[in-house]
């Protein structure tokens, strides 16, 4: 059969082609309102050419077969057509495909003759679920045509008639009686009683006939939901909540161009039957395009209200929560439980027990076509065009939203740009119907942005699962116990009976194809509210990874071939197990299992049974490393799905499942932060690309068993097959998906020296050394090691070490050197870690740090022998010898010589600064000096005669501005950078500004009075004089205040202050009061009597003039002499409760009462 002879019939194309054929019996469905699936069914019936809802024969001999489900790439539309065409006895090239809409006549059958209650596509159940029913439909239609031939030619008995290639011929002579086209109208009325299935060998079933939907998928004509265009249609999108579990608070003004703003039920909510979710999105209808609608939805301002649980949806919190449930959650045991696994595990010795705790993340469906639906609502009807896997559910939801009866709802199924389980949900249809309901009479296409598609998904549940196994002395598994912690969509939708197990949590574990003498699978419900749904292969997608990984751990631990291990688990003679054995045998052959892969690669295998006992075994061949990532080169798959209706499509489905499962295993996982999904588009949610797709070799075993599923069973084994290959390749067991989150162990790329005795310090170079917990030399742990950086580590060869590889262990794993370190005998080499300074002229004393320095016999600077002193085992000092040149420093002991990696620069380091000048050449403290020179970039200090400037600015590599620091004295200016110091040749003169005296207090008093002098530039004060008489006692309190005692012999006159810059004199005079000889002070009272440090206290008494100190219980306080009878003072910090004392040159007074400072 040539490619492209078949045509799938879009409704538009269907109408044209049927009418174009002339005299057609049937009317197709145009993609406009009013001409939908149900109209077509009625039209077909009255035209009289329909042999039931599934089969329509055209006068032009075309055969149109209805597909009742969702064609999402799995090819089921072709598979079901093959079944019908086989029974109908028509030529495949005459077959056309019509996508059926919502129609109870198209419900999924429960057996060969009975229809169920719902139309849905999932569970790998299309071909196997419809097979028997459609065989009957096709066989009945064929017999109707034969009976019609008899009816039109009564002389020819039915017994002499048979159907051949769309015609009815006489058995006796092979002559043509009539074509189907000529018989169709009559056939409708026939009621044959001799319906029987066609017997093998089949013409079409089992053949890799080309798919009916592909021609339209290579020229852009296939109509997906997003492609629907209706007259007068407007475009809409939805502003979705940024977090999972939010409702709409307030809605801002509509952006321009927006025709309607419609609050709609929240997306991605668990759908509880018969109820709509709360308002959680805002529909925006525009007169623009889908792009305009998405822009408008983005720009409209909406406030959101969290649900109580929203913030709990946080990956870090959820991991902790699951770990808690793993250790102490209440479990329900799944049925069947075999024997007593707990007892067997307890009885097994420790070295015959295996245990692994595994996890998988939440997964998004990531269908290539974002969620969308087109809807026309009128007062009396609602018509939907949607890519849906659930026509019945969609219709029921639309009835709920519109309030219309189910009979008023029409659902037309488009092609699906991927389904993957996402379109088993109807949240996007509910939103689209709600928007269209607000725009009655106008068809509305509602399309989600890709970002909203990722944010509002029903995720594949995360699962944390621990599996324990016991083996006997020969390595045979005697017991398996799995404990699963996993949330449940059944729980979320209120359909989980308390105390029972959600089968999707344990699928693939409880019904694994192996015989374990003791087996327990238990489930701990995690009630977390992350919205959940079915993802390709459902529970098998994670549980196969857990079980098949654990089996591989046992195989490695017991040194068994993993395929042999599985054979031993199957060996019980039942048909399923014999089929599994055949799969394993075929896998050995097809994967060259017994021949080692090329160097640098390893193989891993896994198998599973799912979806109607389809058995799949897979071998993955992998190269790479944790650090560089892994590449899956090829995958060998053996599948026994009973009967392959279309082997080509079975292979395509295997390729699809392997690629999708590979991408999930390697890279995928949705994460959440306080309710916000973190991965919102394909830039962060990584999909496989062509260069990452493995070559896939699929072998189909035709076992003759009953039909099993095809779309999903290929997926579960790929993740464990890859993880098992990685374990063999790297020795590292990946227990958590995705594999891209595997912690990267340290890598030792080189080490030096490569040999030496115990005590040698070895420098390792590599990656991932941070946090190293152990370094071993041929298995002997180093007692001393230091992580210098993530890429360098030094370790000392420990006592007892022998020649062998070096290994570094961190929390992320262990890295082992490729080469061996040779342990020799003798004295370990000196180890040189650092030296300082890095440069200097001959005579410079250099300090060298390291280890093994005790027995040093020689130190050389670039070969020139230096005098040295051993300070300790880890430090020595050496003097740069005369005549030394720039170069490395070597240190020798009887074990040998070690040379530094860095050079010591003899002379001035060319990278050190030079100071060529400065301006101005003198100035006071606080003035700015501009220094010129070179290599000023990176300046670390500027010093004035050795006093570091606290403020400097590097203007350029040749200019620095510095402020003369307090305390600086005249001298040279130096500039320092990391390489050294440059010093000016001339000196900077620090000028001292002349003091000024602005005031003093008291302004009069007897000899001995303490006078507080205020003014400026009280720096470097050398003398204070009262009318020329030098005070013998003065204190510079600050640059603006001095206290001085009026010296004996002073007469009334001006007060002067002198420093090296000059003398400042007051304008007013201090009056020496005559004849006064003051006495010792007295204290009569003080107020207040208590208060903490800082409290101001007023003392009353006598002879306070000339007071030199005030103390609180011995602690000096600041004070002000207000008059000879009054002092104000401040309670000093730390003074205990006690008396206050006042001292002047004549004596001390102590208060009678204690002052309470609150201390002591």
């Amino acid at each position: 059969m040539s490619a492209g002879t078949n045509k799938a019939v879009s409704r538009r194309g269907f109408l044209k082609s049927m009418l174009g054929a002339g005299g057609a019996l049937v009317v197709g469905v145009e993609l406009v309102p009013g001409l939908s699936w149900t109209n077509a069914a009625a039209a077909v019936a009255t035209a009289g050419g329909s042999l039931g809802v599934y089969v329509t024969i055209g006068a032009d001999e075309t055969v149109t077969l209805t597909y009742p489900g969702a064609e999402m790439g799995q090819g089921a539309s072709t598979g079901l057509a093959q079944i019908l065409a086989e029974e109908l006895m028509v030529d495949w090239s005459s077959v056309r495909l019509l996508l059926g809409g919502y129609d109870p006549q198209l419900n999924r059958p429960t057996n060969g003759t009975t229809l169920g209650t719902s139309q849905s596509t999932g569970g790998s159940n299309s071909v196997r679920g419809y097979h028997d029913y459609l065989r009957n439909v096709g066989a009945t239609a064929r017999q109707k045509l034969i009976w019609a031939a008899n009816s039109l030619n009564p002389s020819i008995p039915v017994s002499d008639l048979k159907a051949v290639n769309g015609t009815v011929v006489r058995i006796s002579d092979g002559s043509l009686v009539a074509t189907y086209g000529a018989l169709a109208a009559t056939a409708v009325t026939m009621t044959p009683n001799d319906v029987a299935w066609v017997q093998p060998p089949y013409r079409i079933i089992g053949q890799s006939v080309p798919r009916l939907d592909l021609p339209s998928k290579v020229n852009g004509s296939a109509v997906y939901g997003i492609d629907i265009r209706l007259p007068g249609m407007l475009y809409a999108s939805v502003k979705q909540a940024p977090k999972v579990g939010q409702t709409v608070g307030t809605i801002g003004a509509a952006p321009s161009g927006v025709l309607a703003v419609v609050p709609v039920p929240a997306a991605s909510r668990p759908v509880v039957s018969g109820a709509l979710p709360p308002i959680g999105g805002v529909g925006v209808v525009t007169n623009s395009t889908t792009w305009g609608a998405i822009q408008a939805a983005r720009s409209i301002a909406v406030t959101w209200v969290d649900e109580a649980y929203t913030a709990n949806l946080d990956t870090a919190l959820m991991k902790t929560r699951a770990a808690g449930l793993m250790s102490s959650g209440t479990a329900v045991t799944a049925s069947p439980k075999v024997g007593d696994a707990d007892a067997a595990l307890v009885a097994a010795p420790a070295n015959q027990r295996y245990s692994g705790t595994y996890s998988v993340p939440y997964l998004a469906h990531a269908t290539m076509e974002p969620m969308n639906a087109t809807v026309l609502v009128t007062d009396a009807s609602c018509e939907i065009w949607a890519p849906t896997q659930v026509q019945t559910k969609a219709a029921e939801a639309a009835a709920l939203v519109t309030g219309l009866p189910l009979s008023a709802i029409k659902v037309n199924t488009t092609y699906l740009g991927g389904g993957n389980g996402r379109r088993l949900q109807v949240d996007f249809i509910i939103q689209a119907v709600a928007i269209a309901k607000a725009m009655k009479g106008t068809p509305i296409k509602t399309v989600w942005s890709r970002e909203d598609d990722f944010t509002h998904d029903y995720f594949r549940p995360a699962s944390l699962t621990k599996i324990d196994a016991a083996v006997d002395g020969s390595g045979a598994i005697t017991a398996i116990k799995a404990r699963v912690v996993c949330p449940s969509s059944k729980y979320q939708t209120g359909t989980l009976t308390s105390g029972t197990v959600d089968s999707s949590a344990v699928d693939g574990l409880v019904n694994a194809l192996y015989n374990f003498p003791n087996k327990t699978v238990e489930w701990v419900l995690d009630t977390i509210e992350v919205p959940l749904g079915s993802w390709r292969s459902v529970g098998n997608s994670q549980n196969c990874f857990f079980l098949e990984s654990l089996l591989d751990e046992v195989a490695i631990g017991t040194n068994q071939d993993p395929i042999a291990l599985r054979r031993s688990l199957l060996n019980s003679g039942t048909p399923t197990h014999l089929r599994a054995l055949a799969v394993l045998n075929a896998l050995v052959t097809a994967s060259n299992w017994n021949t080692a892969p090329v160097s640098g690669r390893a193989r891993g295998m896994a198998m599973s049974m799912s979806f109607g006992d389809t058995i799949v075994g897979e071998v993955a061949e992998v190269s790479g490393s944790v650090a560089s990532g892994f590449k899956v080169h090829n995958v060998t798959v053996v599948i026994d799905c009973g009967l392959a209706v279309n082997p080509g499509m079975v292979k395509a489905q295997i390729e699809s499942a392997v690629d999708q499962g590979l991408a999930a295993a390697m890279w995928q996982g949705q994460t959440f932060v306080t309710g916000t999904p973190q991965k919102r588009n394909f830039d962060t949610y990584r999909m496989a690309r062509l260069r990452e797709a493995p070559a896939i070799n699929t072998v189909i075993i035709d076992s003759g068993a009953k039909l099993g599923g095809v779309g999903e069973p290929g997926l579960p084994p790929i993740a464990p097959a890859i993880a098992n290959a990685i374990a063999r390749l790297t020795g590292i067991r990946a227990r958590n998906l995705p594999l891209s989150t595997m912690p990267v162990p340290p890598v030792i790329s080189s080490f030096t020296p490569s040999s030496g005795p115990v005590g040698t310090v070895v420098t390792l170079t590599g990656t991932g050394f941070t946090g190293a917990t152990a370094v071993t030399f041929n298995g002997v742990a180093a007692t001393s090691f230091t992580v210098a950086s993530a890429t360098q580590l030094v370790a000392t060869v420990p006592a007892g070490a022998t020649t062998g590889k070096i290994a570094v262990t961190t929390a992320d794993g262990t890295g082992t050197s490729a080469n061996s370190y040779s342990v020799t005998t003798g004295i370990p080499l000196p180890f040189l870690a650092s030296f300082t300074p890095a440069s200097g002229p001959a005579g410079t004393l250099v300090t060298i740090n390291g280890s093994n320095l005790t027995g040093t016999t020689a130190v050389k600077f670039n070969g020139a022998t230096a005098a040295f002193t051993v300070v300790s085992a880890t430090q020595l000092t050496a003097t740069v010898p005369a005549g030394a040149t720039t170069g490395k420093i070597s240190v020798t002991n009887p074990g040998g010589t070690t040379t530094t990696t860095a050079s010591f620069t003899v002379g001035l380091n060319p990278l050190a600064p030079t100071v060529s000048g400065f301006s101005p050449t003198s100035g006071a403290v606080g003035s700015t000096v501009t220094i010129t020179g070179s290599k000023f970039t990176g300046t670390t200090a500027v010093r004035f005669n050795g006093v570091a400037a606290t403020v400097f600015t590097v203007v350029s590599d040749t200019q620095v501005m510095a402020t003369v620091p307090v305390g600086a004295t005249s001298g040279k200016i130096s500039v320092t950078n990391a390489s050294g110091t440059g010093t000016s040749s001339s000196s900077y003169t620090v000028t001292v500004p002349v003091p000024t005296v602005s005031s003093f207090t008291p302004t009069s008093g007897p000899i001995g009075t303490v006078v507080t002098i205020n003014g400026t530039n009280f720096v470097g004060v050398t003398a204070v004089k009262f009318n020329g008489k030098t005070a013998t006692s003065f204190t510079v309190v600050s640059a603006t205040q001095i206290t001085a005692t009026v010296p004996t012999g002073t007469t009334t006159g001006k007060v002067s202050v002198t420093n090296s810059g000059g003398t400042g004199t007051s304008s007013a005079s201090f009056t020496v009061t005559s004849g006064s000889t003051a006495g010792a002070p007295t204290i009569s009272s003080f107020t207040p009597s208590s208060g903490r440090a800082g409290t101001s206290v007023t003392l009353t008494g006598t002879n306070f003039t000339g007071t030199t100190s005030v103390k609180f219980n011995g602690t000096a306080a600041t004070f002000t002499v207000v008059s000879s009878t009054k002092i104000t003072t401040t309670v000093p910090a730390g003074a205990p409760k006690g008396s206050i004392s006042v001292t002047n040159p004549y004596g001390t007074a102590t208060s009678r009462d204690a002052y309470d400072t609150g201390i002591g």
């Binding site: 492209g4 890799s208 092609y415 690629d659 588009n681 394909f682 830039d683 999909m687």
Partner: protein, 153 residues
Amino acid sequence: MANVNVSLTVNGQQRTVSADSGEPLLWVLRDRLGLTGTKYGCGIEQCRACSVLINGQLEKACDVDLSEVAGRSITTIEGLSPDLSNKLQQAWITEQVPQCGYCQSGMLMAATALLASTPKPTDAQIDSAINNICACGTYARVRLGIKRAAGML
């Protein structure tokens, strides 16, 4: 952003579009010109479902503004051939490449551009030329389809 009138050639036909100058070509093609074979997958230049040829060059239509295509000649999947006679379309059917098919318009445009510049591509050249995302896992068959169209099988 302002409304502009832009004339361009699409699959050999002269078209004039009046729309926001910043509207991506993807949506001009799909929603204004009715050429829905070019698909929206991500809108951020990741998936390449929107791939078209502009003056023979492979471009992502989600990242080309209407204002940038004035006077340009666009080829979309609908322009490959009306009757499936294009050698890549033929090869795609022979190898049964598409599954859901949503990414395949972009795949075929990328393959068209590849074969135009490299009539007999190596595996490595195919690896680097085809960066389209296919969620269905058709990659192995895309490779076969390209080789078949190139006469290499």
